[in-house]
């Protein structure tokens, strides 16, 4: 069942078309990744799901209801740009934000007690937020996002600025929330996290979705068309290959995407002539590869369309 249904939403800022006819669904209880380069429309779309801004046309349904003050209470939102009141006490601040999400004073206190304890932050409640370290502030921010026990958690770049230990703690909590049946939607451009955690993804480019579906389906549809090659010797032979696209190239390693008109045997033969092979593997493309090639295709296509029209 889809807990979030987005149907043909459009959002303009003056002449700038920030979100152009975007549709996708998020299944209840899934971990959904929103990918795309900066400025592709991810944050604007997330803000519309949060009812922070309202689409010019199209609809956002949360649990079959139009997004509005009611749906806001079901969502916990961690914006990419973090921030809380610097000069307000941590405890008061968390209570204030939980109350704004519609919790009663008593429920809010109980829930905050649990999460503060969980993050080892009980002792900070009497301090001003500004007196905490960056990492401590991040924890408080995260608690403020989930304290009202939201059914949907939206995290915009949740791991940015976290040290490895807190990063791992956060990952554990996200997985745990998901196991409890919460729907997680997170926006990122860090592909390895998406590959590790997400069930479904959608890929934004220039205000539109250019790819959406389950991660495994998408990977399968791209087929086994990538060669990972390790070698010793002069890498200039890579430049002589036709009908390929080369990713992650370094002095003695490359990922080669095979396009129409070439197969892996031809690549291998050319390589053996020039260098000593240490690794040769025929694999599914990485999400990084899918991401880059799809975005590039789409940008080229749009550019051509613009020229024609």
């Amino acid at each position: 069942m889809s807990i979030i249904k987005i149907d043909s939403i459009v959002k303009r800022f003056g002449d700038f078309l920030a979100v152009d006819n975007v549709s996708f669904n998020v299944n209840e209880g899934s971990i959904f990744g929103v990918l795309g380069p900066n400025g592709a429309g991810k944050t604007t779309t997330i803000r519309m799901i949060n009812y922070i801004t309202i689409p010019d046309s199209g609809s956002v349904l949360i649990k079959e209801q139009k997004a509005g003050p009611q749906s806001q209470q079901l969502i916990g939102y961690l914006p990419e740009e973090r921030g809380l009141y610097k000069k307000m006490k941590v405890g008061e601040q968390l209570l204030y934000l939980a109350r704004l999400k519609g919790m009663t004073d008593r429920d809010a206190r109980a829930s905050l007690q649990y999460w503060l304890d969980r993050f080892g932050a009980i002792d900070w409640t009497k301090k001003n937020l500004g007196d905490l370290s960056k990492g401590q502030q991040q924890k408080i921010q995260f608690i403020s996002t989930i304290a009202h026990d939201p059914e949907i958690c939206i995290f915009d770049e949740p791991f940015s600025g976290l040290d490895p230990i807190n990063s791992e703690l956060l990952r554990e909590v996200i997985i745990e929330l998901n196991k409890k049946g919460k729907t997680i939607l997170f926006a990122t451009h860090r592909m390895e996290q998406v590959e590790q955690m997400c069930d479904d993804i959608c890929l934004f480019s220039q205000g539109s979705i250019i790819l959406t579906g389950s991660l495994s389906d998408i990977k399968r549809s791209f087929g086994n068309n990538t060669v990972r090659i390790g070698f010793r010797g002069d890498d200039s032979f890579l430049d002589d290959l036709d009908h390929v696209r080369i990713n992650n190239r370094s002095a003695n390693y490359a990922e080669i995407r095979l396009l129409e008109g070439i197969n892996e045997q031809q690549v291998l033969r050319k390589a053996v002539d020039k260098v000593e092979i240490t690794l040769f593997e025929f694999v599914q493309p990485s999400l990084q590869e899918i991401f880059i090639s799809t975005v590039n295709d789409s940008v080229t296509r749009k550019a051509i369309q613009n020229k024609v029209s």
Binding site: E81, Y85, L97
Partner: protein, 435 residues
Amino acid sequence: MHFNKFAIIFKREYLSRVTSKAYIITTLLAPLIFLSFFLIPIAVILLSPDTQRVVVVADETGTIAPRMAEMNPELFLIADETQSIDSIRERVMQGEIQGYVVITEDIITGDRSPELIYGGTGGIGFITEIQGALRTSIRNEKLDRAEVPDEVRSIMTERVSLTTRVLTETGDEEQDAGMLVFLGIGLGMVMYTSMFIYGGIVMRGVIEEKTSRIVEVIVSSVRPFELLTGKVMGVGALAITQFVFWALAITGISALSAPILLYFFGSNASAAGGGADTQEALRAAEAELPFTMPEISLGLMVGFIVFFLLGYLMYSALFAAVGSALESETENQQLSIIVSLPIIIPIFFLSPVSTDPDSTLAVTLSLIPLFSPIIMPVRMAIMNVPFWEIGLAIVLMILTFIGLMWLSSRIYRVGILMYGKSASLKELIKWARYS
């Protein structure tokens, strides 16, 4: 609008500020400054050294000196006949006494003026006192010589004081406009400062939430409009709290300080009132002051609060819109200046408006919504402004506020989420047009 959420925001905006050190200090300090206006003159008098001055009166006629000595035995000393004028001069030069006056018969007849020879210290008060004593003594001597009956003397000492009252259209008699001009200008200045102070608090609040980025978390729970109104109302309540506290404190201080003032300045008056009845004594003391203390009527106080609130609402809407466009307080002064201009302009008209509060200029200015909060209370303090003018001004301000709030919330909801750089006026206009 979601009232519950508005209430939570209102509460935070109000409580977080009302408990801040800066607010408590300024709230307490202002009445103390007011108090010091009363206490400093008193302190100056108490602390000034009370040196006893002595003036020798060498009276050839023997009629004036005893009268003077009777009026102020410490100041006036009758020269005994054995003393020569030269020896008295010597004593003045040595500083033993402060001066001397020689009285001769032709002074009493009025053919010559008396002369005070003195050491040069003592100031105007010293000389005035001697002059007064001489005048009274010589006059009384002349009256005695002419054998003037007591009834005539009492007529001569009678004092006629003039109270002025203004007759209004409705037939009520009002107090004089002289001091009211000062009161009016004072109110105008207070209003002007208040607009900047409280409008500034709203603007800084908006900027703080925007630069700290917490605003995005908050508007994922409430509508931007609810946040904006909660903030504006919370700061408005803060202002009202401060005004009420000040009004009570100043009333209290005035009540307490009146008897103190009376004690020091109104010695004659309290003697007249018998010292028992303070109210009467106070009135008598007031009569001795060269001006009448202006009374601030309840109507004027209510008017001030109403015009303050409406003015504050209009300007805080504008300041909030500007705040939402800025990345920090110091950036883009251009926008702040545009919003500040309508507050500053009326200040230039305070003087013409207060001297002629009924002129076409004054009436027109007081009806322009953004000028009303400053100009109208000035007029109200000085004259009886027709009720329809006050009513019209209030209606126009309410309409302007609704319009400004609509415009400002459109700018605000876009501005608070625009990170990176401060926006220009052109961009603000563009934002207001977004759907």
